[in-house]
């Protein structure tokens, strides 16, 4: 796919006629807190030749409840997710954590006849970067960026989805200077309810992450989960230290060519 992208950038309005149709699972965090990330995800998927659909009945994968030890509530939302996304061949989320929730936990949250449907959803749910690089084989989405970036491997995408170098390959293909982050695989301290119940500890871990990021001299601290990015940014707004945390999709989409208005 990457060798099909014309240099220096791909016209985002150009669609491959045979591109796959994907359902965007935008996640509740992106929908409500970071909608720009959702817009970026759509732009990147379209730049890679996908036709994006957004099932408007979608809500939340249920992870907050599952991790709080409320599997009944989580199961209720999981069943809704399964219904909403059943008609699609591929479901793509701009979040390693929410995609990992579907992958790693749904088969234990859902028992009975729905379990097969849960496993079907798991099999076709992908994190955005993983989908672009590993599924579509598209490393170069046509984004071009002149920036120094360091990357934090958010935990659930890393460990429960096995996201490897996909985000880094996308960034490198976009021309960014990627600098290694010390302890890039160590948690940033978000952890859902953990960051409310143990706020001081969560902030201490964010400080470690921001300090390591500062040491790289990068302008951006990119990562694949908006909740982690918001937690880091929330801490950075207090301490004033560290590069700007940003979702990798949002950063990449900034490097896409400006959209061309449709001909009137």
């Amino acid at each position: 796919m990457s060798d099909m992208s014309p240099e220096p950038g791909l016209d985002p309005n150009r669609r491959r006629p045979d591109g796959p149709t994907v359902a965007l699972f935008v996640t509740c965090v992106v929908d409500q807190i970071a909608p720009d990330v959702g817009v970026a995800a759509v732009r990147l998927l379209e730049a890679a030749g996908c036709r994006v659909e957004f099932p408007t009945a979608q809500t939340c994968c249920g992870q907050p409840a599952a991790n709080a030890g409320e599997p009944e509530a989580a199961g209720r939302l999981a069943r809704h997710m399964i219904d909403v996304f059943a008609p699609y061949d591929a479901v793509v989320a701009p979040s390693g954590s929410c995609a990992a929730m579907v992958h790693h936990s749904y088969d234990r949250l859902i028992s009975g006849p729905d379990r097969v449907r849960a496993e079907e959803l798991s099999a076709k749910t992908f994190e955005l970067c993983q989908y672009l690089v590993d599924e579509l084989g598209c490393t170069d989405v046509g984004a071009r960026l002149d920036a120094t970036v360091t990357f934090h491997d958010a935990c659930h995408g890393l460990r429960n989805l096995g996201i490897g170098d996909a985000p880094r390959r996308l960034l490198t293909a976009a021309g960014v200077t990627l600098v290694d982050l010390a302890d890039s695989e160590t948690c940033c301290g978000f952890g859902g309810t953990f960051s409310l119940e143990y706020g001081d500890l969560a902030a201490a871990l964010a400080d470690d992450k921001l300090a390591h990021a500062s040491a790289t001299g990068a302008e951006f601290l990119a990562s694949g989960d908006s909740a982690c990015v918001a937690h880091l940014e929330g801490r950075r707004r207090r301490t004033g230290s560290g590069p700007e945390p940003i979702h990798v999709a949002e950063l990449l989409a900034r490097g896409l060519p400006a959209p061309v208005s449709p001909t009137p």
């Binding site: 009944e72 379990r115 460990r159 948690c187 952890g191 500890l201 201490a204």
Partner: protein, 522 residues
């Protein structure tokens, strides 16, 4: 627990805050990280060893009582005496009685988490039996009247300066802040204790059922002295330490030492098969092995069974971002770190450490590091659910035979190596649906926490698109601002600004894009 838990505070939240604010501890953390990173780097190199070790540990759990019987028979065959203790009280009584019957006045101990678990040193001291820890780190912790903060490196929370101060309280004059000198002083200081002790107490790293051989690894040689010089050797063995065959040590020992300290093998390895025989020069006259259950056998067949595969290597502590920031005392329990968060509530059946499973960001580094593939993060989540109801925690046995197997998942991820009970077991506790339903029907909220009701209500609202849209209209008020303070969410806003819902949600922007040709191109 009569030993002082040195970090003040009644909850993990309070103790972890105190730990973060403790300059002595934070000063020691650099050293701690260096030490732990060494262990971590080496531990990551042996996937095949992990596979073999995990299989051996599951083989034990498939028939724990059977292996214990075979071990007991082998131990008795080689002349050891086996005692079975269901509770810490029973285990303490057995050991104190053994000491009293023999008129023991001094006991030397090698490092053992099992004896910490049953508070054995205190029980012996209360019986007026002098009890001396002989592992250097453990001795420092004993002199300081603390608990070990790490199961492999008990005094790793202390700086060299503090260690010198602590040991000076037992010396004739001030001791230098020099590693070698302090170790040498302790060596000389403890030597007479070894010589006068009538009883040596150790733990057990592994016990082979086929030969009745108990194995102890140490780096200081104190374990060997404790188990060979005094006339009586008592080994306290948590029941899951049994392994089927002596030859399994070839797999498990290197895995343990690599995972624990990054060593290919520990400096000392003691393999003890019975007491001294008539034709042997060294060894105790008597060997007693105390099998300690303490609610472990009840975990077999439950979703928590995997926890019994633990070999106490400390790898999960070494990688845990929370442990690395607050050290072991913040956990307020004998076992700390991720394994401690799981084990403490399980062994105490919910009497201790109920909040510990929540004190995790669920990053999964522990699951990834575990050399015997215990899905620690998943067990933490499961405990959060199972500890909602107050009272005694008694996990129910569950059926095996889930559909997931390592082959079917394609690429293997941490925690997915085995079709374990934890992997197969549904997360919704048995009967929970019925209970919740009844509670709502009868408005009997006595057993339901606020959090439970909040999540139940929230999930009902958000399981409907209309309900979700209604709550997401909040963005029109909050307009994507960052809150510096928000009542009810001060846990967050005390340390961080909180992002509030954006003025226009993604779905609103999508709808605009769909309806308005002008915005079709994003």
């Amino acid at each position: 627990m009569s030993h002082g838990i040195v970090t003040p505070g009644a909850t993990f939240a309070e103790r972890s805050r105190a730990a973060l604010a403790d300059p002595e501890l934070q000063g020691a953390l650099t050293n701690l990280h260096r030490r732990l990173d060494t262990a971590r780097a080496v531990a990551e190199t042996s996937p095949e060893l992990k596979d073999r070790a995990s299989s051996i540990r599951r083989e034990v759990l498939a028939d724990l009582d059977g292996w214990l019987d075979r071990l007991a028979a082998s131990l008795e065959r080689v002349g050891a005496v086996v005692h079975r203790a269901s509770t810490p009280e029973e285990a303490r009584s057995v050991v104190v009685a053994l000491a009293r019957e023999r008129g023991v006045s001094t006991v030397v101990k090698s490092k053992s988490m099992a004896t910490e678990e049953i508070d054995l040193a205190d029980a012996l001291e209360r019986a007026d039996i002098e009890t001396i820890e002989t592992d250097l780190g453990e001795y420092i912790v004993q002199v300081a009247d603390e608990r070990p903060s790490h199961m492999i490196t008990p005094a790793i929370h202390k700086t060299l300066d503090t260690i010198a101060e602590v040991l000076t309280t037992r010396a004739d004059g001030p001791l230098p802040t020099d590693r070698e000198a302090l170790a040498a002083w302790t060596h000389d200081h403890l030597r007479p204790a070894f010589l006068r002790a009538e009883m040596g107490i150790s733990g057990v790293n592994f016990a082979a059922a086929d030969t009745g051989t108990i194995t102890i690894v140490t780096n200081e040689g104190n374990g060997r002295l404790c188990t060979s010089w005094p006339r009586t050797h008592v080994a306290v063995m948590p029941v899951e330490k049994v392994i089927p065959r002596l030859v399994d040590l070839a797999t498990l020992l290197p895995l343990l030492t690599r995972s624990a300290t990054g060593q290919a093998m520990s400096n000392y390895l003691s393999m003890i098969t019975g007491p001294r025989r008539d034709d042997e020069m060294d060894g105790p006259d008597e060997l007693h092995v105390v099998f300690l259950d303490n609610n472990r056998r009840a975990l077999v067949g439950t979703a928590y069974e995997d926890m019994l595969a633990c070999i106490r290597c400390g790898a999960c502590l070494n990688v845990c971002p929370v442990y690395r920031r607050v050290s072991g005392h913040a956990y307020g329990a004998v076992y700390s770190g991720p394994m401690g968060k799981v084990l403490t509530p399980l062994l105490s059946q919910g009497a201790e450490g109920r909040e510990l499973p929540h004190a995790s960001s669920l990053c999964g580094a522990c699951t990834e590091a575990c050399p015997v593939e215990i899905p620690l993060a998943d067990l933490l989540v499961r405990l959060r659910a199972d500890l909602r109801e107050p009272g005694v925690l008694r996990p129910a046995p569950i059926a095996t035979g889930g559909s997931s197997s390592p082959e079917s998942t394609g690429h293997r991820l941490p925690g997915e190596g085995f079709a374990t009970r934890a992997a197969a077991a549904p997360l919704v506790p048995q009967g929970a649906h019925r209970k919740v339903g009844l509670s709502f029907a009868h408005l009997s909220f006595a057993h339901l926490s606020f959090a439970h009701l909040a999540f139940a209500t929230w999930s009902r609202v958000w399981a409907s698109p209309g309900g979700y849209r209604a709550t997401s209209a909040l963005g029109r008020l909050t307009k994507g601002r960052w809150a510096r303070r928000l009542p009810g969410l001060t846990g967050w806003t005390r340390t961080r600004d909180l992002p509030l819902p954006a003025a226009r949600s993604f779905r609103e922007r999508w709808a605009e894009r769909t309806n308005d040709p002008e915005t079709r191109s994003w």
